[in-house]
Amino acid sequence: MSAQDILVVAETNQDALADITLELLGAARGLASSTGGQVVVVILGQNGAQHAQALSAADRIMVIDDAQLAAYSPGPYLAVLQSVIESESPRAVLVGSTTIGLDVAPMLGARLNAPVVCGCQAMAAEGDALKVTSSICAGKILVDVRVERSPAILLVLPGSFQPAEQPGQAQVETKPSPVPLEAGQIQFQEMILPEAGDVDITSQDVLVAVGRGIQQEDNMEMAEELARALGGELAASRPIVDQGWLPTTRQVGKSGMVVKPKLYLVLGVSGAPEHQEGMKGAGLVIAVNTDPTAPIFDVAQFGVEMDILDLMPALTEAINAVRGG
């Protein structure tokens, strides 16, 4: 690997490649085209080669298989990634700002004395340096930063990049862990899946998502009526689920579900990046919020500056009127 190469850390989500990995490959291809280097993707797991096809945008696909890497635990993952970065010396390491990424990227930065940048949405090479644009403060502030040292470890926000369009050389190398792996103090036990029986919001065409603007649990009924009138289901941002007003299976966002409905009616949600992550792929987004500067309006096609408690009943009525219901 040369000092102009870009290393991507791949992730899987329940046996499929995570969307973020394809986005990182897109970002890496863009960066590599100006550094003149290769895109190398490393995938840790137990049978990583099964994903080789999906990773074909990379030039080199480094599959590292080990029983200890079957499920994420910090010790083995860090040991392997540190070793890979040390031996490959890439220009930049792209990591998703995900539950795994937020663990490993900063720790790799500490171990390697490498710069770490959070919230990356855009990147470019400029001479020996990297220029990165980051989003902080719940999407309200943007920062352009310059990173001189290599490797730069970039935590990339999901939804910031398109998957790569062109395939790379896609050479697959399968190898065992480059370092002996110990289980360590933090060990994975088991995955706990959400209770079945509730609606799967990821398969819905119409979602009505509610946030803090709903104010009281009592008002959820209004939202339910609206969802019914539209032939859809209720979803929610994290605060609503934290309160227990809806189960976790209804949560849209970074720590919830990623949804791509045809209609996403989002009510009283400010639209911080964590929420946007979960719905950026939606078709038609209509947002209602009393705060005209709410970031949700950046990802909506239509917006209304209004109290949702006023609009919901009027909207339900209007919809029922045309449906003759």
Binding site: N13, A71, S73, G75, T98, T99, L102, D103, A105, P106, G109, A110, V116, V117, C118, G119, S135, I136, C137, K140, I141, V143, D144, V145, R146, L155, I186, Q187, F188, Q189, E190, M191, I192, L193, P194, T202, V206, L230, Q243, P247, T248, T249, K254, S255, M257, K262, L263, L284, F297, D298, A300, F302, G303, V304, M306, D310, L311, L315, A318, V322
Partner: protein
């Protein structure tokens, strides 16, 4: 078990944030601060563990923002010790420097378990929570929603949140650092009278810690507000008028028949 909790103050986003004239940092002069949400959950989680196991809880904070209020509230909730690190600067230290400073205090406490919010919205050049791991030479795992006592006093069970409401149950051998996303229950309410009582009875210990000399790893070139550019087309009018317009849009797209 001895638990240490790190709490930070972050700019309150209730007001629009102002950017300094240099365009390289925030102008925090008129900003108001509040406790970082995930740190607040970390305090709650610590207290829940205390209630379950009798552990002691020490809260450590940097003297910034409304820190005294946060520390007294923590004391009122039942923490055993509250420590403040003096800090004169107008902006908080980098996560790397902060990690080193908190680590010094925490080593003095000899904590077995360190809890800290898994992220703060003003973090740019690093994330504090995982950095505490190496700074304390302890393993780290983050994005944790809930902790339960383990099968023996030297371990705990932590639930790491994955997409799709899936949780990974992790067995954590102490000592360790955990980045908290959410506690098992939302932060409890503490009556103001107890906070005021804590202001009289609880003592905030001050522990000076030198600021480590850490070279910044990146240079800020420009800080700015996102462009209002591609924002939504705003619909105006009364609720009835807007409702009609929305129905029209939905009909045009075949989403309502």
């Amino acid at each position: 078990m001895k638990i240490a909790v790190v709490v930070r103050q972050v700019p309150d986003l209730i007001e629009p944030l102002e950017i300094a004239e240099s365009e390289m940092e925030l102008d925090l002069d008129g900003a108001s601060f509040l406790v970082n949400e995930t740190d607040d959950h970390a305090v709650e989680q610590a207290i829940l563990l205390k209630e379950a196991t009798g552990a002691s809880v020490t809260v450590v904070a940097l003297d910034f923002g409304d820190v005294d209020d946060t520390l007294y509230a923590a004391a009122a909730k039942g923490t055993d010790q509250i420590i403040k690190i003096p800090w004169e600067e107008e902006t908080p230290p980098s996560p790397q420097a902060a990690a080193a400073m908190y680590a010094q205090v925490i080593k003095g406490i000899e904590a077995d378990l360190v809890l800290v919010g898994t992220y703060a919205h003003d973090e740019l050049e690093g994330v504090l929570a995982p950095l505490l791991g190496p700074a304390l030479e302890m393993p780290y795992v983050g994005v944790i929603r809930g902790i339960q006592p383990g099968d023996d006093p030297s371990s705990i069970r932590a639930f790491k949140e994955f997409p799709g409401a899936v949780m990974a149950q992790m067995n954590v051998g102490l000592p360790a650092v955990l980045g908290i996303l959410a506690a098992e229950q939302p932060p409890r309410y503490v009556p103001v009278s107890r906070i005021r009582a804590a202001m009289k009875s609880a003592e905030i210990e001050e522990q000076e810690v030198p600021l480590p000399a850490i070279e910044p790893a990146l240079t800020v070139e420009r800080m700015y507000l996102p462009e209002a550019g591609e924002r939504a087309e705003m619909l105006e009018g009364s609720e009835e008028e807007v409702a009609q317009r929305i129905v029209q849009i939905l009909q045009e797209k075949g989403l309502v028949k």
